[in-house]
Symmetry: C2
Subunit: 238 residues, 2 copies
DNA sequence: TAGTGGTCTAGACCACTAG
DNA sequence: TAGTGGTCTAGACCACTAG
């Protein structure tokens, strides 16, 4: 397996950065210098540099050159799947009920709707070894003729449920994570006392125009569940 | 501002996907078809497609063609800065103390060290409008001659503190987020009772060989702080 | 065998930068 | 004015796919 030349070029620059030879703000070799050094054409050099630009190792300033980026960042990648968070696979998801109701205030606010608009509520919870760990509530603005498929509701994640109604591209998802003492309802489902804290994750799904199309709240028993995040990105993280 | 041709090509494909004309698994026009359609050369077409590959809209199968990706994912981007989480800027960070101690068990475990190895502890907290919101503790394995700069300890984030010791590239960072009842120490600093839950964020910094080089715990008063994440990526999220 | 994407060449013209 | 990166062309050869 011979490495393509453009990969060799990007690794050459990357090594200069990792080894410390090049530091933040430094100018790297110009494209023409790299062409000469590797005996190749500019298109090949540029292909190698594009990789580094995408990985945020370098940035380019037209007319001046390519420069090393500041790499320290506060950015992490987090995976959140409200049903499958307990990765072991021993868990069991139960559907508590599906109803059409008048929206509570919190839901009106988060979905940007008035109290006249009915919403569908889906309540589910997950157990593992007979311990209730997750309680999940979803709210979706109701409109007549909405196809609600039992199997989906039972096993699908929120984006999956909503994807049926729209192109599944360009969905915006937001999470708000907090800790709180459980309400009576949550205490009952998770079988905990008021003093045992839960992690609350609010999930908002927005369409292309930033209009909310779904709002969910997931409560986790803090004793049995922790969220994890890291700065290593992987594509298709399911 | 005339748009570059390769951008027009990538937007053309993107629109086909967003509008639903192309769905998951569908084959998009071949590169040669796109060349003809846009009256351009293959390199330009490929440049347009590369953008879509990087954004995970399409993937290519050599010998067959380019295909639309599955876009639903559970991946979110989270920004975490233990000192600057209270974005408003009204907050004030105070240094409680720096000490060299024998590591507690939790720290030994997370740093992968024995009890013989001393660690540096840095304790800081942040207030906003006279309310303590964040209590932050950092542990770093001690070695002689370690340059500890007062100003850095006071104001720098964990990766920044550690970056001095190594190339700041290729740092791996992991977060574990949970909810819990505060210990006596945390109660005192955050001025809360045992019943008021805190959000606990453990931060582990690893070097290239996955060896821990720093461990931190940040406690947030849940009443005043929530973590946010979304699926929109932005580079340089500071 | 015809078509596909992957790599690469050797040029070109452009706007911009900085002395 | 010389050098830089941004865009684009019109080719080439390759390995792979699938009928």
């Amino acid at each position: 397996m011979k490495k393509p030349l453009h990969i060799e070029i990007s690794e050459y620059i990357k090594n200069q950065i990792i080894s410390g030879k090049l530091k933040y703000g430094d100018k790297i070799n110009s494209e023409n210098e790299l062409c000469e050094k590797f005996g190749t054409s500019r298109m090949t050099v540029r292909k190698g540099l594009t990789v580094l630009v995408n990985e945020n190792f370098i940035y380019s300033v037209p007319g001046k050159g390519n420069f090393v980026s500041e790499k320290i960042s506060n950015q992490y990648t987090l995976y959140f799947n409200e049903l499958n968070s307990l990765k072991s696979g021993n868990e069991e998801t139960k559907l508590l009920g599906v109803n059409i109701i008048n929206p509570p205030i919190e839901v009106m606010f988060n979905l940007g709707i008035t109290k006249k608009r009915k919403v569908i509520v889906i309540k589910r919870y997950s157990m593992k070894h007979d311990i209730s760990i997750v309680y999940d509530i979803k709210y979706i603005p109701y409109h007549v003729g909405m196809p609600i498929v039992e199997k989906e509701i039972h096993y699908a994640t929120f984006p999956e449920i909503l994807a049926k109604e729209m192109s599944h591209f360009e969905i915006k998802k937001e999470l708000i994570i907090s800790g709180e003492n459980p309400s009576k309802e949550v205490q009952k489902i998770l079988k905990i006392t008021k003093e045992e804290p839960v992690m609350k994750i609010e999930q908002k799904i927005l369409d292309d125009d930033n209009k909310p199309i779904g709002f969910g709240i997931t409560y986790f028993n803090s004793k049995y569940f922790k969220l994890e995040a890291s700065n290593l990105k992987s594509y298709e993280g399911d």
